[in-house]
């Protein structure tokens, strides 16, 4: 599948994320003659273990960062990520039903990543706001950049970097209090190859989520 980079909006020190930034970022895509292709939505769920009887030893060995992800471009799949253990799993959607039946983990919170998809030549751009489901409160802004002709992370690196340079320049003209950031990820740590797959996307979502939480904690 085509190579994708997931970026997140990193506010400047003391600044926060707001819907005006989201609007302006979307206008950037418009100004670059991006063709609107419709809406997209992915949902990230944080799980917490259900402990029957208080058990400190058990609690300490269970993951604190167990995430589930449903993606707009893989409607029949579901992904689990435990970042601390460099673990990503692809499953059929029915795994959610199995997890419910097991009753060992519960949803702590779920966040929607949603917005508009644009097409710019061989690139697909998805600007998205991050907000808890059933809430409009903005927790972050993300940008998916997909380069359709290439699947190799290594071969696509240069063209992605060049595209982002143009994009960052367009965004910087608006003097917004922050910038988009791309986190370099060593996918080999997760057992993933250079050939891009949805599991790579799942890992990027987990990493971006950690960044969003970290910057929110810094601000508060």
């Amino acid at each position: 599948m085509p190579l994708k980079w997931l970026l997140h909006w990193q506010p400047n020190a003391g600044a926060s994320v707001n819907s005006q930034i989201l609007t302006e970022v979307s206008q950037c895509a418009d100004s670059m003659n991006g063709v609107k292709e419709g809406r997209w939505k992915s949902t990230l769920t944080f799980y917490r273990p259900v402990i029957r009887v208080q058990d400190q030893a058990l609690t300490s060995e269970l993951p604190r960062d167990f995430l589930g992800l449903s993606m707009h471009d893989q409607p029949n799949k579901y992904y689990f990520i435990i970042r601390a253990q460099r673990l990503v799993l692809e499953a059929d959607l029915s795994i959610q039903s199995i997890m419910e039946k097991l009753q060992s983990y519960k949803t702590r919170v779920a966040l929607n990543f949603e917005g508009i998809q644009y097409r710019l030549g061989d690139f697909q751009l998805r600007v998205g706001k991050v907000a808890p489901i059933n809430s409009e409160s903005l927790r972050g802004i993300v940008l998916e950049v997909e380069y359709l002709p290439i699947s190799s992370l290594e071969k696509g690196r240069q063209i992605m970097a060049e595209f982002l340079e143009i994009w960052q320049e367009a965004v910087s003209k608006r003097s917004l209090p922050g910038h988009f950031m791309h986190m370099e990820t060593n996918f080999a740590d997760y057992g993933l190859s250079d050939h891009y797959s949805s599991q790579h996307t799942a890992v990027q979502y987990a990493i971006v989520m950690a960044q969003l939480i970290a910057s929110a904690q810094l601000r508060s």
Binding site: P49, V50, I51, R52, V53, D55, L58, E61, L62, P63, F66, F80, I82, Q85, L87, V88, L89, E90, A91, D92, L93, S94, I95, S97, I98, E100, K101, L102, Q103, S104, Y105, G191, Q199
Partner: protein, 237 residues
Amino acid sequence: MSRFCFLVVQREAENKGLFSMECVVQGIIETQHVEALEILLQGLCGVQRERLRTHELCLKSAPNLGAVASEVRLLCDLEQTEPTWTVRHVGGAMRGAGAEQISVLVRTMVESKVSKNVLRLFYALGYKLDHELLRVGFAFHFQRGAQITVTVSSVNKMLKLHSTDEAVPVTPGIQLVEVTAPASPENYTEVVAAVSSFCEYLAPLLHLSKPGISTGVVPTAAAAAASLMSDGGGTTL
């Protein structure tokens, strides 16, 4: 939903709007009669058998993890060039007077195909290996009133952890026969009927019953097998 009192399934159906069920019966056969059974199945199903080599790992939740103690099975299909993994959750069997009257077990069952690191994931989530098995044999998949699968396999245990190459039979000389068919709350009565009706054809060679209710080998097996072997399955049993 039906005349059966199957409250658990009904409630789940209402809550989720999606879940799977399966109808299942099991039996045993002496290994010496397996070839005859294969000839009979080949004649009845009209499809080619598929080889079966499945590593099955049964995991249980750590003490205190979960609202209830839970169990999940990880199945690794070793017949594929690149082994494929499936997570299976087998739920409660249908209960009530109606369920007791039928000879087929109906239970909830959900499966999900997963990538290969699923064992690592469940270990990380606090599940522990309870036991593991290697099933070796063959299977027939065919449509006969329902999507029926018949598996005939020897069940093997591993002498060392995960050492599927050094597995030994749990019950030497005996193989397990399992007939299953997927079902839903809407159609399970028809599926039960289709499975029961199919099992009658196998009756001279083996008796199939609900899992856990073993009825042993049947006395007519040797004669039926001899008859099948002599004419290649042409005789109507």
